[in-house]
């Protein structure tokens, strides 16, 4: 128990630092802003209580909001993801269920499963985030383009980090 709290605390700090110090400064042409910190919510164990998941999502969003000076936007998106994650896990569950490991990791359930899991969560998160950021439906398709392009980069970086984790 203590062990896993320490482990996720470390993952959390690393991801937030990576996001704030590196990815928040990446700017390709104004269309691409990868948000990698969402990986923390992806990696939380499967049997975590829904209310705890929601609170952790809320805290994550709040802290990222603090560091990127954007009141509420990230919080809104992460809480949404925290609520939807159990449903996403149910939809993409492998044919023999989640046997063996409680970590939703690439090591436990394979590359294809992890990709579809990441893509779904990242898409939901980025859609909520970018539309709440613009806060209007004018330029609907341009925002959609930003969602898709940024999601591609976020998913790529998350999968790379996961490969690195797997190698360890």
């Amino acid at each position: 128990m203590i062990n896993s709290i320490l482990r996720f605390g470390l993952i959390f700090i690393l991801l937030i630092m990576l996001q704030v110090l590196l990815f928040n400064n990446i700017q390709f042409s104004g269309y691409v802003n990868p948000y990698v910190y969402i990986m923390f919510i992806l990696l939380l164990p499967m049997e975590i209580a829904p209310w705890l998941l929601l609170l952790l999502s809320f805290g994550t969003g709040l802290i990222v909001d603090f560091f990127s000076a954007s009141p509420g936007m990230h919080t809104f998106a992460t809480v949404l993801v925290g609520f939807i994650r159990p449903y996403v896990l149910r939809i993409i569950s492998p044919s023999d269920g989640y046997e063996g490991s409680s970590d939703p990791s690439m090591l436990a359930y394979g590359f294809r499963w992890f990709i579809s899991y990441t893509v779904l969560i990242v898409l939901i998160h980025h859609t909520a985030l970018f539309y709440i950021e613009v806060f209007r439906f004018a330029d609907f398709f341009r925002t959609l383009l930003r969602v898709i392009l940024s999601s591609i980069f976020s998913v790529t970086f998350i999968v790379l980090i996961e490969f690195y984790r797997k190698g360890k």
């Binding site: 110090l21 928040n24 990446i26 700017q27 042409s29 104004g30 802003n33 829904p50 209310w51 929601l54 609170l55 999502s57 809320f58 969003g61 909001d65 603090f66 560091f67 000076a69 954007s70 009141p71 509420g72 936007m73 919080t75 809104f76 809480v79 949404l80 925290g82 609520f83 709440i132 950021e133 613009v134 806060f135 330029d139 341009r142």
Partner: protein
């Protein structure tokens, strides 16, 4: 009562979700707007330490360009000084500068935190109320307009960048004086949009765009950009794409301009609205 408890037990996650989402939504709607960016401001105080260090390291890499910019600005100021001193040799001259006649105060500041990749961009400068900075002051770089101060602490201020969907500025075409409303469309950090220029006006690519001074925030005649492209939009107006002269990606030294007669102008205007 028991039914109610059952209901709560069954949907407790949904209720927590809606509650947290409500808080987030409240923050989005109440912390993000133009006048009330106190949340942004308070929060910046916490992260300023880290960001200041990053910026102080980064500022070394731009020194050469900044020197060139300052030299150009210096030359321009010397030219203007020349024109002013010449005038004093005449028999009749107008007094430009005394305590009552001075309209604008300039304060030099350094940008310590800046973004261009969001839809609502802000930047932070290293001076605040202790150095005489107040909300609603204009911010210009050596090249042109940069933004408007929206919040101040003692030693820091947050400015809304031109690259913000909420930013509006009254600007005109220098050659013929027709004015319109300048805003950013959220696409490219180098371009802004000038609206409300009627179609009978002759617009050329390369025309200079400057501020009008109608808003009592920016002085008249500050450079904004040049016409990059224009198209007919709606029935009567042009939609003109402006190439901004300020490079927001390496905004570093700015000039904060306060209008000493702003309240006087605004009070008078309020009477007739």
């Amino acid at each position: 009562m028991r039914n109610l408890l059952n209901f709560l037990a069954r949907y407790n996650n949904l209720i927590i979700f809606l509650f947290l989402e409500g808080i987030a939504f409240y923050m989005v709607t109440h912390g993000n707007n133009y006048q009330n960016s106190r949340v942004v401001n308070g929060v910046r105080g916490i992260t300023n330490g880290i960001e200041k260090r990053i910026y102080s390291a980064r500022s070394y890499f731009n020194l050469k360009e900044i020197n060139i910019g300052l030299a150009l600005e210096n030359a321009d100021l010397k030219n203007r000084l020349q024109q002013l001193t010449k005038k004093e040799g005449q028999v009749f001259f107008s007094v430009n500068d005394s305590l009552k006649k001075q309209q604008y105060v300039h304060t030099f500041a350094e940008v310590i935190e800046n973004t261009v990749n969001k839809q609502k961009n802000f930047f932070t400068i290293n001076k605040g109320t202790d150095q005489g900075i107040r909300p609603d002051m204009a911010v210009t770089s050596e090249m042109g307009v940069a933004g408007v101060i929206v919040g101040c602490s003692k030693n820091y201020s947050v400015a809304m960048s031109v690259l913000n969907l909420d930013f509006k500025l009254s600007a005109r075409i220098k050659s013929n004086g027709y004015f319109g409303s300048l805003s950013w469309d959220g696409r490219d950090y180098r371009y802004a949009i000038l609206n409300e220029i009627p179609q009978h006006v002759i617009v050329n690519v390369g025309d200079t765009i400057e501020t009008t001074g109608y808003s009592a925030i920016f002085p008249e005649g500050v450079l904004v950009g040049t016409v990059n492209d224009y198209e007919k939009y709606g029935g009567d107006f042009y939609k003109i794409s402006i190439l901004l002269t300020s490079d927001f990606k390496r905004l570093q030294f700015v000039d904060v301009i306060g209008n000493l007669k702003k309240t006087e102008q605004q009070d008078l205007e309020k009477l007739y609205k």
